[in-house]
Every structure is written in C-alpha cells, then in structure tokens.
C-alpha cells in the first residue's frame, strides 16, 4: 500500500512537473546550503586537526600564570629546572626546550636578510622532522658547547648567500644584544600543504634558521616557558593526567600552588578551536535551516492548492471506499516525497558545491554521511509536518460536497 501510495504521488507530481520543481526549490536551496555549510565546517575542522598533527599534538607550554601578581625570579625556568624535569619525567617527555627565539638581521658577504632564529635542541629533529638537503642537523655537541652553528631553511639560505648549499658559510647577527658570527652547518626544507602555507604563512620575507637553544638562554639563563613534547603513545586522558602531574611537580619545585602555573597544551587548543568551528558551522547551518521552514511553507501552500484542485478526486475516492486515513496518507506521501526529493537534490547540490570548492582550494573535503541522513530525514519531516494540514483538510472533506465540487 505504501508503494501504491508512492506511485500515486509520483503520478500526481509528474502531472505538474514545473510546479513540483518550483515547490521543491525552497527545500533544495535550504538543504543544499545546510549541507554545504556544515561540510565546509567539517572540512575546516579536519584541516585544523591535521595541522595540529603536524605541529605535534602532545606539545605543551608551561609557564607562571599571567594572573599571578607577585612573580619572583625563581618562578622562571632555568636550565637546571629543565634537566630536573627531564630526569623525573624522562619516560614521558620526548623533547624539552625553553621556547626561545629571536628576530634579527643576518648579514653575509653576499646579502642581508631579516631572520627568525629558533632556539632548539638537537632532538627537535625527532619531534618536528625537516628534510636536510645539505650538511647536518644540530648535534648534542652544538647544544652542550653553545656553538654558534645554525641550520638554515633552503629558501632563506638562497637569499642570504645566493646558493642553497650554504654549508660552511658564515653570517653575522645580533641576538639579545650580542653581535656574533654564526656558521651554517646544514640546510633544510620543510614541506607544507597549500592550505598550511595559506594558514600559517610561508614566512614571507623573513628567513628562518635553527640555532642551539642554549645560545638563546645565555647569559642570564632564565626563561619564561618550559616547552616540551610529551610521549606520543599516550592517550588523551593519560596526557591530561601527565600535564597536571608535571604542573604539580613544577609548582612544588617553585614553592607555589599548582593553580599559579599555566599549562597551554596543543590538544587543549585543538579542542577549543574544534568546538569553536563546530559551533560556528552549527550556527550558520542553523540560519540556513530557517530557509527549510520557508521551503516547507511553500510545500504547504502548493499542497493546499492541490487539495482544492482535486476536491472532486477526493470525493470520488471516498465514494469508492477510501477511508479518511487513506486520503490523509495519500496527500502526506505526496508532500513527503516532494520534500524528500528536494532534499536529495539539495544534498547533491550542496555536496557538489563543497567538492568544487575543495577542488579549487586543493584540499580534501568531508561530507559526513550523518549530515546527509539528517538532512534527508529532516526534509521528509518538513514535508510531513507542512503536509499535515492540507492532507487533513483533504481527508476531512465531505464526500457529498466533494463530489458536487466543480
């Protein structure tokens, strides 16, 4: 009987193709935009999460809270603190440094260029690997001996020295007030996706290079951040437990309460960003969903017209034995099909827009099946809800009056 009704509904809709299409248009646009917006949101979230994967999800920064008024010098970190932390939590920390960096003008015999020098440990290559094109990465000796060696990004090397293979070349730069001469020991290249470059910037005119972190803490040997990568094998709850454990340890070390310290974690930021994006796409999707109501009203309108036009048919059906419920179901099926068809076309449209946009931006797009199912069911519900009144009007028609209707 359901199949029978659906067939009947399709016949009725085919009789007025243009009208059916125009009625569906509201639903098509509504569902299409909801799908497009939600999918774009999901795609963005996917991209951000992949960026966090790239920069290391276990990465975190520990520092004295900005809300603490009586900051003492002992609240800052020293190299001794870092070694102690590494000793105590060695199995859970795969990398630790002071997160110091400096901006300065580098001058070679060939050219001069503004540089961003990042102070890193030699183990940084393990947590944030780069491709070494020439020479070598920083080694333990560089770190320990505070050697004025640098590993330079290939493009920066080309601009500073006129050649990518700058191994052995020297440049002068003033870091924290000290003008020194540095030697390039290696040249690296970091691959980034088009989207990553767009989001993070390729560095623009500023060159970048790694120098031993021990260089940047010296001579005063105090720094604000303890920057570390936790072991990547930990699950999220384990990570969070470790973060609090570390905070508590450092607080004790510094004779403070744990809540005086601030732990900024990549997963925390990622979660915040993710929920912000989710909320945003929900909000915009919700606004787009309003157009579904407009589409639903369009369906109700056309169904009312249809019921009036077909009053006589309703009378005939009732005279031939259709019960109230048979007529109700017939018209409900019609409006539900109208709406569901609009929904399906809308999904194709919305999905198409997202795929095209993804193609244009060169990023893989995500259209979640859950969203699609939700959209189709929602459009069918819209059809049934807005079809209810016209259908009940049809079902309640008195057969005598309906048969007499001209």
């Amino acid at each position: 009987m359901l199949l029978e009704n659906m067939k009947m509904a399709f016949t009725a809709l085919r009789a007025n193709k243009m009208r059916a299409f125009l009625t569906m248009l509201g639903i098509i646009i509504g569902i299409g935009s909801v799908i497009a917006i939600v999918s774009i949101g999901d795609t963005m979230r996917g991209l951000f999460s992949s960026i966090y994967q790239d920069i290391g999800v276990t990465q975190a920064y520990l520092s004295i809270g900005y809300w603490v008024d009586d900051v003492r010098q002992s609240d800052y970190f020293t190299m001794d603190d870092l070694s102690r932390i590494k000793e105590v939590f060695g199995d859970k920390i795969s990398y630790i440094d002071s997160d110091m960096s400096a901006s300065s003008e580098a001058v070679s015999e060939y050219a001069s260029l503004k540089f961003n020098f990042s102070g890193v440990d030699y183990l940084y290559q393990e947590v944030q690997p780069v491709d070494i094109l020439y020479g070598r990465y920083l080694n333990a000796g560089d770190i320990k001996g505070r050697r004025q060696n640098a590993v330079m990004e290939a493009d920066s090397a080309r601009r500073l020295f006129g050649t990518e293979n700058a191994v052995g070349r020297t440049f002068r730069a003033e870091i924290f007030g000290n003008m020194r001469e540095y030697t390039v020991v290696g040249v690296y290249q970091k691959k980034m996706s088009a989207f990553q470059q767009m989001m993070m910037g390729s560095g623009g005119d500023t060159g970048s290079a790694f120098v031993p972190w021990t260089l940047l803490t010296w001579p005063n040997d105090y720094f604000y951040y303890c920057h570390f990568f936790a072991d990547t094998n930990m699950t999220e709850p384990e990570l969070n437990a470790f973060y609090s454990e570390l905070t508590a340890y450092v607080a004790k070390l510094k004779d403070r309460r744990p809540e005086d310290f601030r732990m900024e974690t990549a997963i925390g930021q990622m979660g915040q960003m993710d929920s912000m994006m989710a909320n945003l796409s929900m909000a915009v999707g919700g606004i787009a969903a309003i157009s579904l109501i407009v589409g639903g009203i369009g369906i109700m309108n056309i169904m009312l017209v249809s019921v009036t036009e077909r009053t006589r048919e309703i009378g005939i059906r009732k005279a031939l034995g259709a019960r109230t419920r048979d007529v109700l179901i017939q018209f409900l099926t019609e409006s539900a099909i109208l709406s569901a068809c609009g929904g399906i076309i809308g999904i194709i449209l919305g999905g198409g827009i997202v795929s095209l946009a993804g193609l244009a931006l060169g990023v893989p797009t995500i259209v979640k099946p859950g969203v699609v199912i939700l959209a189709v069911s929602f459009s069918a519900v819209v059809g049934i809800f807005f079809g209810l009144y016209p259908a009940s009007k049809a079902a309640k028609a008195d057969p005598i009056d309906a048969l007499r209707y001209e």
Binding site: A15, I316, R317, K318, A319, L320, G321, P399, I400
Partner: protein, 274 residues
Amino acid sequence: MMRRWLKSSRGELPEIETDELIKIVNLCKVYDTGAVKVIGLNNINLTIKKGEFVAIMGQSGSGKSTLMNILGCLDRPVLGHYYLDGIDISTLNEDQLSRIRNQKIGFVFQSFNLISRTPAVKNVELPMTYAHVPKRLRHERAVALLERVGLGKRIEHMPNEMSGGQRQRVAIARALANEPPLILADEPTGNLDTASSIEIMELFSALHDEGATVVVVTHEEDIAAFTERIIRFRDGKVVSDVRTPKPARQPGAREGAEDGGEHPPVTACRPAGS
C-alpha cells in the same frame, strides 16, 4: 479465488442472510441550513429485494438526491433506519461507512467521475486498491471487467481520450469491481446523447439479467422505462411505486456494444449472496 478473498477480507462486516437488499424504515432527513430547516425526506418506508431493477424518479427538490446519498452511504439519516444487506447503516462510523461503500455499493455518476490522467484500467482497479486486493488479481479483474463492458481495446486510454458513453462504461466496470450487491446509478445518462443513453441502459439491463440489483435515479421517463419498478418521489415522500416486470432477456444479446461481437458474461459479477 476472488470470492474467497473478498469473504475473508470482509471480516468486520456482519453477514446476514436476507433477500431484502435495501430496507428503509421510517426514514427522515432534515437539512439544517441555520435559519430554516429543510425536510429532505419525510418518513420513508421502502424495501428493495435482491435482483430488482428499480428507477427512482422525481423532480429536483423531490428528495431523490437525498435518498440517493443515503442509499449510497454517503450521508446518514436523522431518524429511522436504513438496512443495506442486513446491516443497520445508521450505527456505523465513518471508516465503516467507507468499507460499506467499498464492498456493498457500486456507484455510477451522472458526470462519470473518473480520476483524470489515469488510464481506464487504473480507474477500474481503484475500488479494489482500497479493498487491498493483490495487485495482479486486481489488474486481471479490471481487464476482464473492461472487456465485459466492451472496452477491451481501450484499457490504457485516459478518460479525456474517450467519449461520454465510453467513460460511463468505464465507470460501470469500476462499479462492478468489488462485486457489490448494489449498483447505484445517479442520473447515469444525464450527460449522454440518446444513442449512448440507450447503450448504457442496455448494459444495466444485461447486468440485471445476470442477477445484479440496480437502482437508477433519473428524471427521464424513457430511461425509467428500462427498469422493472418505478418509485416516484415528491416533496420528500413516496407518491407511487409501480412494478412493470419484463421478460428476462438473453445475456449477450445486447446491442450497440462498441467493439462489436459477443462478450461472455462475467459470471463472477453476480452480486454476493445470490
């Protein structure tokens, strides 16, 4: 097969053995139009036996349409009782009335009332759809019925591709679909020319000869002349009830069948219980 199926699906309707197909007792119908109450039917008593061929006559306003609506279970009496095939109609609810209309009555209307943009065969299938007859059986039976009324070659034609007489024959085939005990025709020739009118009345006569109970509402004397009993109404009352029996005719000897040739009588069309 059809018979067995219908019996089993008819479960909710009581089966009462009676040879009185229609029995009306002290029936009144009053229309309440707000300010004035119009008496449509005033204390009618009437019995129609199975197998009768009856004309109900009267001028407009005589109450014959009101009676037609009540006989067709489209309307309910205000007072009195109407027994159709032994069932007291005045006690039934909307859905039960739908079921009665579906199973007990075959309607033929003045303006044909076929569903537009729907082929003849689908129109004939419609009452069987509401009776939940299986699809294949429904189609076979609809084709057989269209052949019976002489439209075997037009089963896929749309109503607007057919003449008035042809449309009315589709309507008659539809009326026979669920083998109802009563064929109720409301001015069946009102929109037809004389030749088509005669064809249609011949068809009713043939159905009657096969045992069907046919009630025709009309205001034309020459149409009523086809029947064997004429009941005249005036001002909501029966003013005369005359029987004019005719000799039974041979089935299949009808004239004016469109496709020509002979059509075997569809014996399954005999009303239930006969």
